[in-house]
Amino acid sequence: MKQFKAQEIVALLKQEIQSYQPTLVMEQVGKVIEVGDGIAWVYGLQNAMAGEMLEFENGEIAQVFNLEENYVGTIILGDYLKIKEGESVRSTGKLMSVPVGKDILGRVINPVGQPKDDGPTIVPEKYYPLERIAPGIADRQPVFESLQTGLKSIDAMIPIGRGQRELIIGDRKTGKTAIAIDTIINQKDQDVICVYVAIGQKESTVAAIKDTLQRHGAMGYTIIIDASSSETATLQYIAPYAGCAIAEYFMYEHNRHTLVIYDDLSKHAAAYRQLSLLLRRPPGREAYPGDIFYLHSRLLERSIKLSKERGGGSLTALPIIETQEGEVSAYIPTNVISITDGQIYLTPELFFSGIRPAVDVGISVSRVGGKAQTKAMQAVAKNLRLELANYRELEAFAQLGTELDKTTEIQLERDRRLVEILKQDQYHPMPVAEQVAVIFVGIEGYLDKISCSQISQFEKEFLEYLKIHHTEYHKIIASTRNLTPEAKEILKQAIEAFLPGFIAKSQDKKS
């Protein structure tokens, strides 16, 4: 930090006063005619623009939402109780913007960029507009790099690419946020800036998320934007746009890869519905306004893999949608499903039967991520989805008490183990090399001799063994991103050496 003496500071301030140029200020001013419930109607402001930022006498900010013949409808960002009828409102001529800069990394802020943690004041480098037209075709390139979530079931069967929009959808308490948090934790040393946007969540939940990310050393590359349930609907409405704008800053200005999690867009839609109804916009299906699709499509369309000429950065979006009783055909879920490039569907049945993450691989898809999947993973996981689909059919058949032939029984047992290896503890994302190794031993049938209950113990010990005794395997995967014949051979040697010892040990324990 630079050291200044008192006289120098005084001189600097004097200089500021001397450099002041008195100019005639011409402003557009209107009057509040009605205020309440976070909205205000303002008379005048004939030249106001949609989305323009307005300033009240007491410094509170509002955004122009409705343009009527004699007045404008605005949504207030701050405390609307401080605003009185008859008060004057100044138009600023600017669109709503959020302060951005490197200082913002590791911070918890509200959607207008004010800190919500106990850190110092944020000095913005720039202001980025909340709303921005999504870049066109010329600025884009197809998604080809993978964004590893660190979760076996997702990286193997529903791979996500950098620049993709992958929806996480499911009922309450099915582990949607857990997937998002694990993905953030897994971005450590992966050159990805993460933005977590909490919309309409409990403050305690956001505090717990911050604490978790801090414990796992993930806050250094993460920004949390908190528009909790106690905040106004206006702040909840602008929160995802603010998150997107901050990620865009890192993508456009620093050519970085970014990941934005919108948790969740169902609450965002509800906040927008509240504002629209208060501003007397006509309600449509489920009382949502007519432009509810555009609300989410214009946000998610800003996810992008930039062309080389534009710096090659990316913005990956993981929107979250909460369904009611598994109803995916409700209005908002169908909208967001149709906008995104695939969805990860979580079910309470799987969650409560102990399969966590509770991903239903049968109906979860990734439309563009396949091209971004590492070759190593492609090599082992190509048949995994089919195997599991087959398993579900066979299992249903077996439940009827039908006697199965020997081959089918063997297949069923193997598939049970495959389901078992896809289970993963929370906050334990796994590197690609380890995921490939575990799926490889499962697919190749090495786990047939181990009981299902021992799979997790086996996985832990085998990966430890591989790390200590076969370091070259990790090196090959890291350098080639492919499961070369050499790597495959190492894996075979490792499992053949490790397995007998493990079986013997577990039998000893039993006896």
């Binding site: 050291q3 200044f4 008192a6 600097l12 006063i17 200020v25 557009q28 001013v29 402001l45 004041t121």
Partner: protein, 197 residues
């Protein structure tokens, strides 16, 4: 004023404006309405009486007839009667404002309010009128106000525009500029140990 009232007032004002325009009485009706507004300001009880909703229309109309029957132009007089019958007399100030706006637009006039710290001389008002007329390409009608709080300079309010060259606002802007610089320094600067000396 609520948005609903504004809607209603707009319909009344437009109807009155169109009728007055047809009969080429725009300015006469406007000046009579302004006089009425002044009377209601001086005798608020009269306005309150006409706004009472539980009184019968006959009583209120009789009062209107007695007080304004001979002094107002029939168009305005019947208009007031309609406001009374429809229980919308409280809209009168808004109707006046909107009627004035419509009339000014139609006659190519622009109204400006000029606030200064000391009263302006006639020549100064004329000069301001000329300047504003030239700027807006419309005939400016200036009304002046005195407010010592602005310290000096003047504030001109035309339509939605607010032209502020008052000393008070200049001082406010200097304060903002210096505070911003001080805040910026507070982030980048570490005070040397002799700061408090």
């Amino acid at each position: 004023m609520k948005t609903k009232q504004l809607h209603h007032a707009y319909y009344y004002a437009t109807a009155l404006y169109e009728l007055a325009k047809e009969q080429k009485l725009l300015d006469q009706i406007l000046s009579e309405m302004e006089e009425l507004a002044q009377i209601f300001e001086l005798v608020p009880q009269a306005r309150q009486f006409l706004e009472l909703t539980f009184l019968s229309d006959d009583v209120k109309q009789a009062m209107l007839e007695k007080v304004f029957g001979k002094s107002l132009h029939p168009i305005l007089f019947f208009f007031l009667k309609i406001l009374v019958v429809k229980d919308h007399f409280s809209l009168f100030p808004t109707v006046l404002h909107l009627y004035c706006k419509l009339t000014d637009e139609s006659l190519g006039r622009v109204r400006a309010s000029v606030t200064t710290a000391v009263p302006l001389k006639d020549a100064e008002i004329q000069e301001i009128e000329q300047m504003l007329s030239a700027y807006f390409h419309q005939q400016a009608v200036v009304s002046t106000f005195v407010d010592q709080k602005i310290l000096g300079g003047m504030i001109v309010h035309v339509k939605d525009l607010w032209l502020d060259s008052s000393i008070a606002s200049h001082l406010k802007r200097i304060h903002k500029k210096v505070s911003a610089k001080a805040q910026e320094l507070a982030h980048t600067v570490e005070l040397s140990p002799d700061y408090h000396e």
